[in-house]
């Protein structure tokens, strides 16, 4: 559990992989190969980003880990046990938010618990706490269409927090959000993870975002997706978040990743 806090995680304790991808392949009907033998270990309490050119199968890999898609080859292990479908230890945050437009913020956030049969009073109390955690207190009885894009994604995040899953799977969570909101959101996410101590698997196509939030960045090649390189930014995230964006290590890391990804554009 030493690796739970992002700063401590840099010490590279012996790998304690909560999630492991073993030779995961995905061939879609029509012989489109999205993933070709991907092996990755996801360390406990760390944030791992899947980064790569569009169409490289990042989201496919995330959905396979979530148990929403069955891979055509290989397997995902969670705590050493193979994945057969979605499970209570994983919670998903969707790129398009996936909020129920007919339900209030409160019901949306409590939805995972509602499906598990948690009594109304109890699940609403948990939901209210999670809504406050993502700084949306006061909007419990609003409907999604009354909220801005950034606020909607906060609801999506609160819903994932409410089920208290150990592993958070985030599929380009900030892609539909404007740049200012996105930056604020990244900072909030880091602050939140310091308290919540989750294992996070994060899909993005933004290099800056990946370097800013990640302990480990997995670079995937263009289709068919393979692990092309694993980068560990090793940034000191204690204290002021704003400072990170000016750090030498941060800038070097962005450059390093850009040099790898550039190749896929030139081909």
């Amino acid at each position: 559990m030493a690796g739970a806090i992002p700063t401590a995680s840099r010490s590279e304790a012996p790998p304690d992989h909560v999630v492991e991808a073993r030779g995961v392949s995905m061939v879609y009907p029509g012989n489109v190969t999205a993933l070709a033998g991907v092996d990755i270990g996801f360390a406990r309490g760390q944030l791992t980003t899947l980064l790569g050119p569009s169409g490289c199968g990042k989201t496919t890999l995330l959905k396979i880990i979530a148990g929403l898609i069955e891979p055509t080859g290989g397997e995902i292990l969670i705590e050493g046990r193979p994945v057969r479908g979605p499970g209570p230890e994983r919670a998903f945050v969707f790129q398009d938010f996936a909020l129920m437009p007919w339900a209030t913020v409160l019901r949306n956030v409590a939805f995972g618990l509602e499906l598990r049969g948690v009594p109304k009073a109890e699940r609403e109390e948990i939901a209210r706490r999670c809504i406050a955690e993502v700084r949306l207190a006061g909007f419990e009885h609003s409907y999604p269409h009354q909220l801005s894009g950034g606020m909607r994604q906060r609801v999506g995040l609160a819903r994932a927090l409410a089920v208290d899953a150990e592993i958070l799977l985030m599929d380009e969570p900030f892609a539909s959000v404007d740049e200012q909101t996105r930056r604020k959101f990244q900072e909030d996410l880091l602050a939140l993870l310091e308290v919540e101590k989750k294992t996070v698997i994060f899909v993005t196509h933004s290099i800056e975002e990946a370097v800013y939030v990640s302990d480990q960045i997995v670079l995937l090649s263009e289709r068919p997706g393979r692990v092309s390189k694993i980068v560990r930014p090793g940034l000191d995230r204690s204290g002021d978040f704003e400072r990170i964006r000016r750090e030498r290590a941060y800038l070097d890391c962005v450059d390093e990743i850009w040099n790898v990804l550039k190749r896929y554009l030139e081909d």
Binding site: K63, P88, F92, A103, F111, G112, Q146
Partner: protein, 284 residues
Amino acid sequence: MPERTSGTAGPLAERRSPTIDEIAPAAAAGAGSQRRGSSPLLRLLSVVLVLGLWEWGGRIPISLSFPTCSQTLAALATMLADGTLLAAYADTIRPLIIGLVLCGVGAAAAGIAMGLSRTIEWFGLPVFVILQAAPSAAIVPVITYVYGIGLAAKVFAVVLLSAPVIVLNAYKGIRHTSPSLLDMSRSFLASRRQQVTKIVLPSASGLIFAGMRLGAAQGFTGVILAELLITPTGVGDLITYYRSVADYPKMFASILSIIVIASVTITLLQKIEETVFRPELRQA
């Protein structure tokens, strides 16, 4: 490098964020005011305009069989006072209500079943696609062979016209459930049953209700067609009778009455949907 990124992203984001934050509420407010604010006056104006044109057309006169608006309204008042209209509607409303209740429950259920099960879809979809495409007025007389000329024939006519649109709308509503909401419910461990009751049905409810409104309108057509073509009773009979005796104001009054009642019914259905079933529509 991050400075440069923020430099290029800044203005872009500034241009983009107001579209999300301001235009959406503005559009919502606009839709709200359209429903409540200026609209009743405009609607009244358009009604007055149409009635005025009618009065003017009747006075030219366009045709000897085209009464003025005032003659028609006077005839309507007479028919209301002497009870003819009420008696006729007693005949017309019963099969209409029976037919619409049957469709509201049965056809909606059939559409939902078709949306949920491939087998039922394979079995049922062609029937309703053909029924919707078929010119129903041509089928209505055939009903007589099976159901005679009584209540059953009228109910059947209502169902025949109303069911296809209700079935097909419910079916489309189910099939158009957002795949991302389905993924969401699966990832949060919904059972198939929970998926249907908590995601699929609520998300289809908009199209299901729209189908019911269209189906109700079709039901009015069905019952009047039956009364014109097979069973000379009710409002359809009033129209036929007054035409045959050339009492055009009363004939037009009968037609006007059914149009008004149908419109009011459909509007009422919409109000019920908004207030009872869809709380998210109420909050602008």
